[in-house]
């Protein structure tokens, strides 16, 4: 019974956050709603027996990405104050389209006979995760490091201040 309540709370967090991101005028609030939605998602991971993922979600997603977006918001501070119309004329189109997508996904989920398999769930998730990382999925592991390197180089080239860059060259 407790699980249902907790699930309900997280659902409010996630969906509320999602809708909040879209509707608020002030993008600072949008960032906050975004973090709320992410924390709700972390809760789900806990419920789905993916504890470590919940921790990673919090550390990486909220801890790094949301903060990064906040920094970006701070950077383009002028947008904070103006309250010009945040949305464009496509409101109706977007609403209908997203609803259609939802119906399609709904249809799919309904058709699948559940549950697929009901074995007992493993407890040492983390060890298995480590073994799979360095075992069968070692190529993605290495390519991720290349990806991170590329992103760092790219971000620094693009974002660096023009004055400092001339100075350095």
């Amino acid at each position: 019974m407790v699980e249902q309540i907790v699930f309900f709370i997280f659902t409010i967090l996630v969906l509320g956050g999602g809708i909040g991101v879209i509707t608020t005028k002030n993008i600072y609030y949008a960032a906050l709603f975004f973090s709320a939605s992410l924390s709700g998602m972390a809760g789900y991971f806990v419920l789905l027996n993916a504890g470590f993922l919940a921790a990673v979600q919090i550390v990486v997603y909220i801890g790094a990405i949301a903060i990064l977006i906040l920094f970006a918001i701070m950077l383009s501070r002028r947008m904070m104050t103006t309250k010009e119309q945040q949305t464009n004329r496509q409101t109706w189109l977007a609403a209908i389209a997203s609803f259609l997508l939802f119906v399609a996904l709904l249809g799919v989920v309904m058709q699948v006979t559940w549950p697929l398999s009901a074995e007992k769930h493993a407890d040492n998730v983390l060890v298995l995760l480590g073994m799979s990382f360095l075992g069968s999925y070692v190529i993605p592991f290495e390519v991720v490091s290349v990806l991170l390197l590329v992103s760092l180089i790219g971000a620094i080239i693009l974002a660096r201040d023009i004055q400092t860059e001339e100075g350095r060259e």
Partner: protein, 118 residues
Amino acid sequence: MQNPYNFVGVLILAAILLPVVGLGVAWLVRPHKPNPIKKSTYECGIEPIGETWVQFKVSYYIYALIFVVFDVESVFLFPWAVAYNRLPLYAFLEVVIFIAILFFALIYAWRKGALKWL
């Protein structure tokens, strides 16, 4: 009821309750007489000039960028650490390559002066 996450739940509950209760009670009991002088932002007593939002230096932003990259790297090393004893030796080699590549990233960031804070 010995689900390990109970403690986490209690902790979160406490984290939310403390500030809310503190501010809530204060908000309830304090008198509510607003006047323009009191409303204006306080800046060491002198008249506030310019926008409240001060010009944001880019290097702060870049610092956040680098934090993201190395934060993700650390998360990847976590499972390796846990499963270290079960993995054959060359797993160590793979992680060394992983760290080496990101070490290059560090050198690059450092040389390009991205790590300078001020």
